[in-house]
């Protein structure tokens, strides 16, 4: 029972990261009807950018010392003689890392946004109006372009990056079971869910949100109603790339920085289809489900099986509900 709850919690945490990644795929699909197979590699770039700004750049010679390691007097006083691995020490070390974490995040968001705009302009826009097949394949082509470019720019070795939040183990009791989790994971969970929720609110209540939804309904009508459809496309790609940058930072700090992040992003595509391509709620449910299933598979069957859980799950779901949990079925008129 204790094990079960423990793995359940782990599942929810990884589910929330899946949801954050899936968010980008759904946003782009809703606005542009393009399913971005390269989203995982957009995330990979986000992770590399985060690494570049928070590690490489902050350690550059021209950077002031306080960015590399912020060490004001009050922080020294706070840390005092805190024991290793104690919450206090973890928080103190996080605060001293804070400048470079912020630099990394801001840099990654900005750089990824620019990258997404370039992709949208150069690759996606010329293909407007082409078949779904062409759209899918061009994003598949992007996978190789991005992966190759990443290989040229950054060496492909696993690197360490600072975590978004302070990282110390938390022990607690639930239903008389001793459980634990890392505070860093908790921060990731909160960040992911906050981003997810705020984006849904934006879509529901703001002008550009309505524009995106209108474009999703019917592109040509949206055009006729005076909505700047190309700008909607750019907005969607911006949303995808910035949330992707955060996801990249989370993944890199959790599992280390490596090209495998791109492939992980691909498995999220399976999650998205499970939930229903155009439904944020469905995708959230699917993310949690896959997160939990993977975690359970890891517990009972080992890590190898956990990796293919999303693929098995999506096959099963598609056979039973062809358009996912909450996806809209397209009705063909004869």
């Amino acid at each position: 029972m204790g094990q079960f709850i423990q793995y359940m919690i782990n599942g929810v945490i990884s589910g929330s990261v899946l949801a954050l990644i899936a968010l980008g795929i759904v946003a782009v699909f809703k606005a542009t009807k393009v399913v971005n197979f390269a989203h995982g590699h957009l995330i990979l770039f986000g992770a590399y950018f985060y690494f570049t700004f928070s590690v490489v750049l902050s350690e550059a010679a021209f950077m002031p010392d306080w960015i590399r390691s912020w060490d004001p007097a009050w922080l020294q006083a706070y840390a005092g003689d805190a024991a290793m691995f104690s919450p206090k020490a973890a928080i103190a070390s996080w605060v001293s890392d804070l400048p470079r974490i912020l630099l990394g995040l801001i840099g990654a968001l900005a750089a990824n946004a620019v990258l997404a705009l370039i992709i949208e302009r150069l690759v996606m826009r010329p293909l407007l109006g082409q078949s779904a097949f062409a759209m899918i394949l061009s994003t598949v082509g992007l996978i190789w372009v991005l992966e190759g470019s990443a290989g040229l720019i950054w060496t492909a070795e696993a690197e360490q990056v600072p975590a978004l939040g302070p990282n110390f183990p938390i022990r607690f009791e639930l239903f008389d079971q001793n459980l634990f989790l890392f505070s860093g994971s908790l921060v990731n969970l909160v960040v992911a869910l906050l981003l997810f929720a705020s984006l849904m609110l934006v879509l529901r209540y703001t002008r550009s949100g309505v524009a995106i939804r209108a474009t999703a309904e019917d592109q040509s009508t949206a055009y006729a109603m005076g909505i700047n459809v190309p700008r909607v496309f750019s907005t969607a790609w911006l949303v995808a790339s910035t949330t992707g940058a955060v996801a990249g930072a989370i993944l890199a700090s959790r599992n280390g920085l490596s090209p495998a992040i791109g492939l992980f992003g691909l498995s999220v595509l399976a999650v998205v289809l499970m939930g229903g391509l155009d439904s944020f709620a469905g995708v959230l449910i699917a993310s949690m489900l896959v997160g939990i299933l993977s975690s359970m598979a890891q517990w009972k069957l080992g890590g190898g099986v956990a990796e293919i859980v999303p693929y098995v799950a999506v096959l099963v779901v598609i056979l039973i509900r062809p358009h996912g949990f909450m996806g809209q079925e397209e009705i063909e008129r004869i």
Binding site: F133, S138, G141, W144, V145, G148, I308
Partner: protein
Amino acid sequence: MITGHFKTDYSADEGIWSNWPKRWGLVAALIGLAIFPFMASNYALLLAGQIGIFIVAVTGLNVLIGYTGLMSLGHGAFFAVGAYTTVAIHHEWPLTFPLITLVISTVVAAAFGVLFGLPSLRVKGLYLAVATLSANFIILFLIEQDWLAEWTGGVRGTETPNAVFFGIELVSQQAKYFFIMPVMVLMLLFAQNLFRTRFGRALIAIRDKDYSAEILGIALFSYKLKSFAISAAYCGAAGSLWAYFFPAILPEDFGLNMSITLVVCLVAGGMGRTLGPIFGTILILLVPEMLKVVAAAITGGDATSQTWVSPTRDILFGLMIIGFLIFEPMGLVNIWDRFWRFMSRWPFAK
């Protein structure tokens, strides 16, 4: 100027080698294929064999994507099934006649094709792409399992047998070439014939307008599954040839990378055309080799060890996909067609 080709009966009009350029083109191509191995280096033969095997697989994919309009990003899996079936057969019965192994591998792959074609009954397009992609991951995962390792070698891969015909073992590149090419030619002709009869027309009808096909009495379910079976069978045959051609295989040889490469060969060549897979495969497999030559010229000497070569090849590969989709979505065959249209009118019109 050729103004038209005149025929006196309907069966002549139905022929595929209907005019002399086509007939002599075919003869020339066959002669070229036959004498090539006597003039080429081992390296060229290695490439040629690889291209020949890929043409078989891409032709199979063409049946599914090009003619039936069903998407797949997982055909590398059927390639794997064919290759591993061949290895397993030789593991159990080392002296099996290669053609029998080839046929069995093909049939086994076709069976897997039917199984993983089942989602196509309910979903199309993107959903099918992801379903087949999933199938690819799952099949490779199964191949890597320990309980199959006796036959598959598990994650570490396995050595593969050589084909033995009547006591003659095919060891040299040249000998292997003469095994691969006849199979390729026969399978190409088979596919070409398929699409001039009721069977092939039914597949094309499903691609163009499925409900309209249904109303003409074409059973969508059965034809879609047959299309999956045929395309998987072609990939299975290619896999079997692959196992005979290379000294060893690894599960990861047949991953997403291969599946996508197959699709890209098809797109680059031109979907729904017999010549498409041939043109596309030659281009897509030769470009990385050319890059090697260029890299060698730039760095002066062996450049394969340079760290930038492999990423550059990836970028080039991706750019080719996108470039074809944007600038020549009908593929190389379209350029070929334009050339012949131009030639048949020259010099009277542009």
